[in-house]
Symmetry: C2
Subunit: 498 residues, 2 copies
Amino acid sequence: MFESAELGHQIDNKTFRKEADVLRVELLKAQYELKEAAQMPVVLLISGADGAGKSETINTLYEWMDPRFLATHAFTTPTDEERDRPVMWRYWRSLPPKGRIGMFAGSWYSIPIAERIDGKLSELQVDKQMAEINRFEAMLVNEGALVLKFWFHLSKESQKARFKAMESDPRTAWRVTKESWARLKTHGKLMEVAGHVLRTTNTAWAPWIVVDGTDDNYRNLTVGRTLLDAIKRKISDGLVQSFPVAPPISPRYDARDVLSALDLSLSLAKDAYEKQLAKWQGKLSELVRHPKFNDKALVLVFEGADAAGKGSAIRRISAAMDARQYQIVPIAAPSDEESAQPYLWRFWRHVPRKGRVAIFDRSWYGRVLVERIEGFCKEADWLRAYAEINDFEHELEEAGIAVIKFWLQIDPDEQLRRFKEREATEFKRFKITEDDWRNRDKWDAYREAACDMVDRTSTGQAPWILVEANDKRFARVKILKAVCERLEAMVAGKEKGD
Amino acid sequence: MFESAELGHQIDNKTFRKEADVLRVELLKAQYELKEAAQMPVVLLISGADGAGKSETINTLYEWMDPRFLATHAFTTPTDEERDRPVMWRYWRSLPPKGRIGMFAGSWYSIPIAERIDGKLSELQVDKQMAEINRFEAMLVNEGALVLKFWFHLSKESQKARFKAMESDPRTAWRVTKESWARLKTHGKLMEVAGHVLRTTNTAWAPWIVVDGTDDNYRNLTVGRTLLDAIKRKISDGLVQSFPVAPPISPRYDARDVLSALDLSLSLAKDAYEKQLAKWQGKLSELVRHPKFNDKALVLVFEGADAAGKGSAIRRISAAMDARQYQIVPIAAPSDEESAQPYLWRFWRHVPRKGRVAIFDRSWYGRVLVERIEGFCKEADWLRAYAEINDFEHELEEAGIAVIKFWLQIDPDEQLRRFKEREATEFKRFKITEDDWRNRDKWDAYREAACDMVDRTSTGQAPWILVEANDKRFARVKILKAVCERLEAMVAGKEKGD
């Protein structure tokens, strides 16, 4: 991978200035086009050996372009905020919106490479992380991003020479530390590990670009020109090119599906309900204060037809907790800021810290429910969403966050009764809209989408719990009990695999 | 994943016969259309719990369709032939050609699932294999295949019931063995492992279809109808939909590339050559007879401009070996049979057994050289080929097969001299064609393609060795020496990682 980056490419200052003058004008122009179209974000990874000129190049790009539409993110040791959440959280929150360029100095590759060099990760563990990264980058590309991954290479000799030159220049001497010289000793190991990482993540959709880091002029021009050509090409190619998807095929030979198997006549008498409610709410309040829960977190997802009782069930859960510990996240149409990001971004924002609970009133499953049915996204988009959602929930689980998903099922008659009740009740009238009546006409489509969703996203780690919700009392107790049982297993250290 | 497959779907015989009559006509029609178009192969995986009706369904599909264009492959314990080669070799050689349907009873999933249940594989190891499978299936889809993966599910109770029913029927009693009842005991473990495997390989391009295996009528109709709809949809969707690729961007600021860095004046005097040749040929003949080589294999790849001396260098290597031990594989245009398969298929055919040597005179790199330059494939195809080739060579390495790749570099003057010499020499005249003169005009394009190839496929495990070949003697000795040194490290157990 590094052969051609060891040839000692050099560009003299005169040539550099001439080329740079042309390039910066074109880059600015491309940057404005990008911004005006607001269709695609550019994710620029600047990685490589120490002393290979990463910050020099980032500074040069800042000189050349309009810094208002450019952001740099440097990642070092994770902050408390970040350590308390899944590994990828800090990268998600730094993603550039459509129309902008985000430069990552240090990226999702940095920690795995460093930990592999230190021997903290086995090759298998690295390979697993690289497979996850490939899926993550595939998602970015499917969402329309241009992903450019630069690796600045230095041979051991060039690295030594660059450290010496930096040391002898008073403006840069401070950047050469004891660690720098230690890096020189592990140069061979870095090449071995980086070679493997680059090979396994050198995908057709997000390939690596290896650049000789020795000469500042050469490196800066190469990065600038590559960035320019890539933006221009992607703009002229037009539409987002996404991964192939298999068409959705599910022949039905009978009316039996997971929802029809539910016994909607299940109910709970008022007395029994009061007793059970008190019992499980008490238990829940204890469980979320259990010392072991401090190192865990909980994500609850509520989906179901309009008027299925999601909100009232959520209130029965939140009532058992301290308001500082939980957050209820109602999901409606995305904001402008959210629309400019990959689909899952607006949910990543709300991933809870350790010791906290996030309750989603509707969720990322909107993609495969309302967006599928209303045609708000392309078929390819909701088809790939199942795997993306599973990956997302898997990342949460890996970070110690239990994910429990509830589907509240009612029948059409019960929905009608509740709609009419809402219209008749002053303080409930705001809850019923034109949309609700329209959605009712699509009852069968929603049902099919819900069944597909359960089939494809009910995993051992994060199963769907189907709730018979014609009787609100029965539903609420079933939900509370399920949450308590999962938390109990969690604090007892008995988590199931998938 | 298995929720809706536990609902006890059933179809009575009368309905079945009515539906089946319609379905089989349509399936036959689709099969002929598929065959006539000869554009896409169908890869059908039939997997699932023991007793879930895998063979019953395969038999039914045989009844319904034209068996001439249908092939079934059952995989159990690997044969000697198969054990001596990389794991995926046996699946590659069973892939259906375009226009045909290949059914896999047992597939690339079977062994990982079984070994995970037995505890022979860790979860990390399984995840690694699943990531490789995802890449393999992505390659199939990129090459135009329709990939349908069925999982026939049984709950523990249904499995028991089906075994009992089979046992009491004299026609099927033989199929229920002690192992069957043992399977019942590991049912929970199977569900856990299969759940994980299905989740991680449930990609948008090759999703799983989980089918309730209990009722024969329901299962057979569901598979038949799904197959039919999928074929029809894929035919009507038309063109192959392939993965997004980043456009190839490599700005050049100077003429320095890995090839220009070679010193083509290097040469070897006749005397020194004779001595060196004898020395390294002697060493090679010893090394390939080393007992440790019996468990290894060697793949040599030769690429370079016309008349660069590939053939004569190959002869100097083969001369040192027993003819039974090596195979020279000259690569020209693919045969009809080869064109009907994924690109790498015609190279997988020639993967050597343990203890053997395969020498490729031109190779899979044609994709990123001649096919790229002549436009024989789409840009997206050669762009994704780099990663596919790296995966391929990685699989060879994992199976103990060393891959050594030689690029023989000459300059245009030397090529002209050799062309003229060929034309002047009776027995060499057949070696020079119109094509050779045409290719000469594309010298720069080939050079650029070769440099890109080295940059993207020279890995720690399988590096490119660039050979200064203006002097044939120098080139041959450099090649022989490199082969010997790699073999020496191999039999000494000192293989490098990548």
